[in-house]
Symmetry: C2
């Protein structure tokens, strides 16, 4: 595989698309805005799912599955939520096709099969789920109800990008019901923590935990907790959100429970989700001009062994032994015995695909009792004694995981600025971008004005923001704390 | 939980629905024909997925994900497939809603947001996938392509039943591409084998392997391999199908490869799938008038421990020790410490939910050094010494798995008849139902006539059918072998 990807410095957006396609992660499809997730990309998603699913179960959640379709009358019940998604809904209006009377090889929608009520393809499932919860919740003994769903959703976005924003995407959506406001808020924060832990420990992607300004909240939420990551081009990526929904959906769908004093109350709700968008975040946090870079904990294949220049009995035997030992350590490994491809071709291909560690076994090296070990993150190669190379590789995978996180953390530190004037704000945005901590007067008007003038938005009010009285960079009005601005995906 | 389910003898269909609902497996939803899969039901599906996914990977397949929507022009490309599904397609015609000008609290479809080309919600994915494969396949080196997808599909069925036939259902669909006809046929048969092994070893559900008559084939297939199971009411359930698709889709979507002699040929295809319907099969193979019965290998919870009558320190300590040891053996176990519910109530609840083994720990029993172990399949209870009870339970779970299979196998043997006249055929159908092996003259006309007269269909031509010349039960015309008839779900 020849190097065919654009350099980041030349065109970051094209570089991203090149990586997604050449590393076999995803591709555009015949359906506007919908992608095909290819086997390499889906394998990363499977690893993300597996880990998150375990973390959800460890925090007491169970999985269930709700219908793909939402009848329009349910969809419109929670007004703000409906308003927020109405403009991007795929709508099913008919349930049958028939042969085109004018061309028997074609099909047309059968006008006699019009649905009495249109069905919305779920853009999110609060409506259909809370309509169901009404039947499931009667008493405080039925609470909390802690349910997650792995599903596809559809939002008819006008501008789409592979993984980052697609008309259909895969995600998980948690929907929980609680007896008290406090418990629901704790749940929303707990899931924000789960997302942050997953992002940092598994994706090696540092995130800022915060909550959204009112204008950036999920439609129908009282509070939206978010984790925000910084991409290599200085733009932010909202990587996961967890919403405290108050009693909005309970009221819209009339979901009440009788409390311990036998009085009826509306139920308190949360919802939270992450999606295949995370794969976009992974790519833009770690990858380089040679291709994809994956953190070992999520890489579908962690180690590849390449014979140099070709397989032979001696090399095969060493490779087999290394494979057996690595597998016993729970490390995934493949021995590439294809003798039609040259080693250089294979190296480039595995580099492109982001395999964290490559072991090259050559005849001459073996005479000296060594093999070549190359790490994908720094592209360093070293000679290592064959004896004990498996321990070296196991440690190296951990080092790569740590190094990727620390490198991203350093990048973020280098691209987080604190500014006190609007001039500085604009200058930073134009020069290096990144996160900007600045004072804001807490009005939606100012927030919108800044967005209009600079395209930067308030990513979040960081949870650890210090109380620090200051002046809003735009209006000079008083501000109680700095908030986090950035241009965002 | 009081016993609230209908007896099988009184109304099998109502018994089935009662089990599905009372055991917390699924429920009807606000969307016509679509079900909500509740946590207990979804946990069974997760176990089915986990095992099948491993079996697919062990046979060389990888997962990917293709769009939910199929543009109409692609959908109609393979004529037979399109014709087969056209009458049950949900069709997306618009991509936006707007506020109803006559009632601002309502939404209406925005007529200005009509799609240029309608999108079909996938009833199956051959069309969208083969349209994609055209870009993925160039040479014999790209073959075989062995891909599976876990997804939701929609077929607008008029009569629906929870799990057995729903408008939306969850399934997996394998779609493979091969260089030769022989290789594709082998793949289709291999996956039929995988399904049969899974059904028998994990679901404890015996199946007949066979192939379909032409009228019962998948729309667009050259041959459909099937596994057919027999339910307790004497009706058959098609539990999984694997299709040899010939070059039909390759021709419809112009998917060619250059062979080793550098000549272009059309690609050969298979597709194969099983769905949440399997859960219906599980229920109707094993369950009884007390509720759900689950084979231990697929039960989300294998053992439950109930303190009698209430938890106390001594009982807790014994329960903890048993739990720890069972978990070390890889057995899932729960200790029900709820002191508000009586043991009798809990027993009935766990019986309803099909937990394979229940351990009762009572104070008096403990004085004698024993606990009570109840198995769900036979409802037998025995006293077992506390010491070593974990080994007993581990063995018991295996025994239950075996017993369920053998019981179902015996039921099938008792309900498989061989008949030589149409009178006998009708008499068996009316008396005990079940599978009927009978001669057929191999014409679609006769097949249809038998169906019209008796509602029985040819479930399959069994792979192990003996060549045995005979006379068709309806026409008296020559027949080369007996085929398998039954009424079916």
């Amino acid at each position: 595989m020849s190097k065919e990807i654009t350099n980041r410095a030349d065109d970051y957006s094209q570089w991203y698309t090149d990586i997604v396609k050449k590393a076999g992660l995803a591709d555009h499809s015949a359906v506007r805005g919908c992608m095909v997730i290819k086997p390499n990309g889906y394998a990363v998603w499977e690893n993300i799912q597996k880990q998150l699913d375990q973390m959800f179960k460890d925090t007491g959640h169970v999985n269930a599955y709700f219908p793909l379709f939402v009848p329009k009358s349910l969809f419109e019940a929670e007004e703000k939520n409906a308003e927020g998604f109405a403009k991007e809904c795929a709508v099913v209006t008919h349930y049958r096709l028939k042969t085109d009377p004018e061309d028997k090889s074609k099909l047309v929608v059968d006008p006699n099969a019009k649905l009495e009520e249109e069905l919305i393809v779920r853009p999110t499932s609060e409506a259909i789920i809370w309509n169901t919860y009404r039947d499931w919740i009667n008493s405080y003994r039925d609470l909390p109800l802690l349910i997650n769903q792995w599903a596809n959703v559809v939002r008819w976005e006008m501008r789409t990008r592979l993984f980052l924003r697609t008309a259909e995407f895969l995600w998980q959506e948690g929907h929980t019901a609680h007896a008290t406001k406090q418990e629901a808020i704790e749940e929303a924060k707990r899931m924000q923590d789960v997302y942050a832990t997953f992002a940092e420990e598994y994706m090696a992607m540092p995130v800022i935990r915060g909550y959204k300004s009112e204008s950036e909240r999920f439609a129908g939420a009282e509070d939206t907790y978010t984790i925000e990551a910084l991409m290599q081009d200085g733009k932010a990526l909202q990587a996961g959100t967890s919403h405290f929904l108050g009693q909005n959906f309970a009221k819209a769908f009339n979901v009440k429970f009788s409390n311990q004093n036998n009085k009826e109350e509306y139920v308190w709700a949360t919802s939270w989700g992450v999606s295949t968008r995370l794969i976009g975040g992974l790519i833009m946090t770690h990858s380089d001009d040679q291709g994809l870079v994956l953190p070992p904990k999520l890489a579908p294949l962690q180690v590849v062994i390449v014979p140099i220049p070709k397989p032979n009995e001696e090399i095969d035997a060493v490779a087999e032994k290394i494979m057996t030992t690595l597998k016993m350590k729970g490390i995934s490994v493949k021995y590439d015995q294809d003798s039609k491809k040259r080693p250089g071709f294979k190296f480039a291909e595995y580099e492109m695909r982001g395999i964290p560690v490559r072991i090259g076994i050559g005849k001459r090296d073996l005479e000296k009792g060594v093999v070549e070990v190359a790490r994908r993150d720094t592209q360093e190669k070293t000679s290592q004694p064959v004896t004990g190379v498996e321990d070296y590789v196991a440690q190296l995978l951990e080092d790569i995981q740590t190094n990727l996180f620390e490198r991203a953390l350093k990048f973020r530190a280098d691209h987080t600025s604190q500014v006190d004037t609007f001039e500085e704000f604009k200058a930073v945005l134009e020069s290096k971008g990144g996160f900007i901590l600045a004072h804001w007067d807490e009005t939606a008007e100012t927030e919108n004005k800044i967005k209009e003038l600079t395209k930067a938005t308030i990513r979040c009010i960081p949870l650890d923001a210090k109380e620090e009285v200051g002046k809003c960079i735009l209006t000079g009005n008083p501000s109680p704390r700095r908030v986090l601005f950035a241009k965002a995906y």
